[in-house]
């Protein structure tokens, strides 16, 4: 299958649809100014093992790029002391921050360059994408939604994607018992207070609370309101696990889709059941593991990294 066909298949299947250029790119980027010397570009590239450097103006707007081949040409012509401006490529192929993975892959295929600058509206440089960045993003995306069912658990034996830490104890345990949606949020409110006491930043507490709340709502909507919420928090990491006793998620792929829900109209009238629960959890958590299956208990484990903000 050609890369072109693969890209078409990705689009058709909606795989990696959550990956866009802003989530794939490296944001720690070296850049030079047009007035810098070519020699500076050479040193920068050699010392950091990079094969191309974007050139930006005083406002960080992308104006060019200089690659290894341009450096070699400049070296041969004895122009290392000239300004970058005189040798850089001005007609840069760049990506937009919201470009899809398919667009990124198409660019790699079409232009055969090793790297693409990513710019926001107005042309300001915000990151760079190399093939390594694409590969890392794909690997990361597998880890972020690692869903497996009972059958796979049997195959994998004692291996579990869930944290071992909960086997011993948890810093916070809340037993949910919820008729309808009335008490939904009580556990998340306690989690929030607990995390505030631990001194985590507001932003990570907000993400963890929102996800725990959505998970709690799911237990109330789908599992009769009985379940547990447990949390462990240390070393800049918050692990939250919400478990119930079933009836389980029959099709996790569908459940992860925005707008897909099995909730009743009564639940919708209460402001939930719009099919945003698990997608919201995926959006705001750094790692997510869901173990479920038809007629099985559901375990949702979410990890939040404090230093990601």
């Amino acid at each position: 299958m050609s890369l072109e066909q693969s890209v078409e298949a990705l689009r058709y299947l909606g795989l990696f649809s959550s990956l866009d250029a802003s989530s794939v790119m490296s944001t720690a980027v070296y850049a030079l100014h047009p007035e810098d010397r070519v020699a500076a570009a050479r040193i920068l590239m050699r010392e950091n093992s990079i094969s191309g450097v974007p050139i930006v103006d005083d406002n960080f707007k992308l104006v060019g790029i200089i690659s290894v081949s341009k450096i070699i040409e400049a070296l041969a012509d004895g122009r290392l002391a000239d300004s970058v401006d005189s040798v850089m490529t001005r007609d840069v192929v760049s990506l937009r921050a919201h470009d899809s993975l398919e667009t990124i892959l198409s660019c790699f295929q079409r232009f055969k360059f090793g790297r693409f600058p990513v710019v926001e509206e107005g042309g300001k440089l915000v990151g760079m994408i190399t093939d390594t960045d694409v590969l890392s993003a794909i690997v990361r995306s597998f880890y972020s939604v690692y869903v497996h069912d009972q059958k796979r658990m049997m195959t994998l034996g004692s291996f579990s994607a869930l944290s071992k830490e909960f086997e011993n104890s948890a810093d916070l345990v809340y037993d949910m018992s919820c008729a309808g949606l009335k008490n939904a949020g009580e556990g998340s409110a306690r989690l929030k207070a607990f995390l505030q006491g631990k001194g985590f930043s507001e932003a990570v507490i907000r993400r963890a609370s929102v996800c725990a709340y959505e998970a709690e709502i799911n237990v109330c909507i789908h599992a009769g309101g009985n379940g547990t919420l447990r949390a462990i928090a240390h070393d800049g990491e918050i692990i939250v696990r919400v478990e119930d006793n079933g009836p389980g998620i029959e099709n996790i792929d569908l459940a992860m889709k925005e707008g897909w829900s099995t909730a009743t109209d009564a639940i919708r009238e209460m402001g939930f059941g719009a099919g945003m629960g698990l997608p919201n959890i995926r959006r705001f958590s750094d790692h997510l593991v869901i173990i479920s299956g038809k007629g099985k208990p559901t375990k949702v484990e979410m990890i939040f990294l404090a230093d990601k903000e």
Binding site: G185, K192, E202, R206, M270, A274, N280, R283
Partner: protein, 112 residues
């Protein structure tokens, strides 16, 4: 925008909470779907909703939203107002519909 201004602009009454002259909101989000609110809101946002379930308070609490304005003249049940007091969320209520409330606030500079 101070909550006291929100109150004046929308002709709302205060159901729960105090310090309306000091609490401030910089954005607003209007929805009856709490999951959408959870997906899209920023902390300093006023929630405009027609729901009066305890979940509007919980949603505001999780997101650090300072205030909610309940539209369409819905009466806020006592348990919801109590939960608002406990969690420190200000609840206002207006007879206007969501569209009118949003329009009035937007026209006076409260952005989305």
């Amino acid at each position: 925008m101070k909550l006291i201004e929100v109150l004046e602009i929308t002709g709302a009454t205060c159901v729960a909470g105090e310090h309306l002259d000091t609490v401030e909101v910089n954005h607003a989000f209007a929805s009856d779907l709490m999951s959408d609110v959870l997906a899209m809101s920023r902390p300093d946002t006023l929630l405009i909703t027609g729901l009066t379930t305890p979940q509007i308070i919980r949603t505001a609490q999780m997101l650090d939203l300072p205030a909610i304005i309940v539209v369409r003249g819905k009466e806020v049940p006592k348990d919801v107002a109590d939960l608002a007091r406990v969690t420190g969320v200000v609840v206002l209520a207006t007879r206007d519909i969501m569209y009118v409330t949003s329009g009035k606030l937007y026209a006076r500079g409260l952005s989305g």
